[in-house]
């Protein structure tokens, strides 16, 4: 590689890495417990352990469930209901207004068979929620999300430029060379290169999908205005209904429309997921892939009639697919453990990168070092 090309890629790698490293360290450190969020909440008792429901056991009426939840928070309105596929529980999110943001929602967890309230902390409280907010938006809302997304893209640029520089560094070395007996700087450089290349594919996908996930809110809004707007047009000028048709019947209609799927959650009118006049019954499949590919079934919240089963647009499919690929929660506990190990390896790549920067010479010295590595062994 020519000196000018090496210098360009070195400068790109240095600055993209420097700008994002501290935030990436924060993301990797907060991401580590989040990988095991489900397990931590079970162990800490935050998520109660309930035996699975017996097959064919009658489920309590959904409208009764919502009334039970609203008794717990009088004056609130229902926003979302959703089911835990692994336990006989469902949540009912409520809020003072239909547009209550998630941090202000109040949730009731109910037994799907008996309707008893299951004691559980609010999803928007506690250490795990604190870590999640730190990880996703630094408690800054959409600006924080977009900022973290930009850091994710810088990380991807740092990975690509790092790979380009890996070539000249390793031209005269066998793969996996780790020289720990010479200078400390060379040992850290080799560690940075080996770990960087081992985690490269994983880190690229996790970084890119993380950046995509930060666009969730704008993408959902775009979907709302584009696709759901078509169905809302028929209701132009009509106020949001105050008396809603049966939720139980709405879910039954959606089940009949999508018999091979199961309901994952339902959005109430006005919550931003199904327009002002519909229940959005979001159906999911039964495989790791199809359980993320929600199929919305829109049910008129006044008449209970099925309005539409729109296909999600491509950008929403990409967004939904990005979530498991970022969280690593789709291959049971062993995959989570491996995800955590790769996360720790990425932390070492970041720390070694910082060490190399602290022990830096001038850009010219480093470029000369890379040039030299192309033709001879580094000492």
């Amino acid at each position: 590689m020519q000196r000018s090309a090496i210098k360009t890629w070195f400068v790109i790698h240095k600055w993209t890495s420097l700008v994002c490293t501290l935030f990436l360290l924060l993301l990797c450190l907060t991401g580590l417990p989040l990988i095991f969020g489900h397990e931590i909440e079970h162990l800490s008792g935050a998520e109660p352990e309930l035996a699975p429901a017996p097959a064919g056991a009658p489920l309590r009426d959904l409208d009764e469930q919502v009334r039970t939840a609203l008794k717990r928070y009088p004056g609130n309105v229902p926003l979302f209901v959703g089911w835990d596929p692994e336990a006989p529980t469902m949540y009912v999110n409520t809020g003072a207004r239909v547009d209550t943001p998630p941090p202000a929602m109040q949730t009731v967890l109910l037994n799907t068979l008996t309707g008893e309230q299951v004691p559980a902390p609010q999803f928007n409280e506690g250490v795990m929620y604190f870590l999640l907010r730190l990880h996703t938006d630094l408690f800054l809302g959409l600006p924080g999300l977009l900022f973290m997304g930009a850091m994710g893209l810088l990380f991807v640029a740092a990975l690509v430029s790092g790979l380009v520089l890996y070539g000249p560094f390793m031209r005269k070395q066998r793969f996996g060379t780790l020289r720990t007996g010479r200078s400390r700087r060379l040992a850290w450089l080799d560690l940075h290169n080996v770990l960087g290349v081992v985690t490269l594919g994983w880190a690229l996908v996790v970084g890119l999908t993380g950046a995509i996930n930060t666009l969730a809110k704008p993408l959902e809004q775009a979907w709302q205005s584009e696709q759901l707007g078509e169905f809302a047009a028929a209701y132009a000028g009509q106020p949001r209904p105050t008396r809603l048709s049966s939720l139980q019947d709405a879910v039954a209609t959606a089940r009949a429309a999508e018999p091979d799927m199961r309901p994952a959650f339902v959005s109430f009118p006005g919550t931003g997921y199904s327009g002002d006049h519909h229940y959005g019954v979001f159906m999911q499949g039964n495989t790791p892939l199809t359980e993320r590919m929600y199929r919305p079934v829109l049910i008129d919240a006044q008449t209970g009639a099925l309005t539409a089963r729109p296909q999600l647009p491509t950008y929403m499919t990409v967004l939904l697919l990005s979530q498991p690929l970022h969280f690593g929660d789709y291959g049971s506990l062993p995959l989570k453990i491996l995800w955590a190990l790769l996360d720790i390896m990425t932390i070492i790549v970041l720390v070694s990168g910082l060490y190399l920067w602290f022990k830096r010479g001038s850009t010219a010295t480093r470029v000369a070092e890379i040039e030299r590595a192309q033709t001879q062994e580094l000492a």
Partner: protein, 54 residues
């Protein structure tokens, strides 16, 4: 000497297989994913064990 990018290309390809496999199904699909990522970690462990201490 072969291109220094051969190993990274294989590793990236294996990572992709590992990432997608568990998404496609449970059981054997999960196992493929576990094997691939365990293999990646083993690559580093092997490099560490064989490190040059001179």
């Amino acid at each position: 000497m072969k291109s220094p990018f051969v190993a990274p290309a294989w590793i990236a390809l294996a990572s992709l297989v590992g990432l997608v496999s568990a998404l496609l199904g449970d059981g054997p699909y999960d196992v493929v994913s576990w094997v691939v990522f365990s293999g990646l970690i083993a690559v580093f462990v092997r490099a560490w064990i064989r490190r040059d201490r001179r």
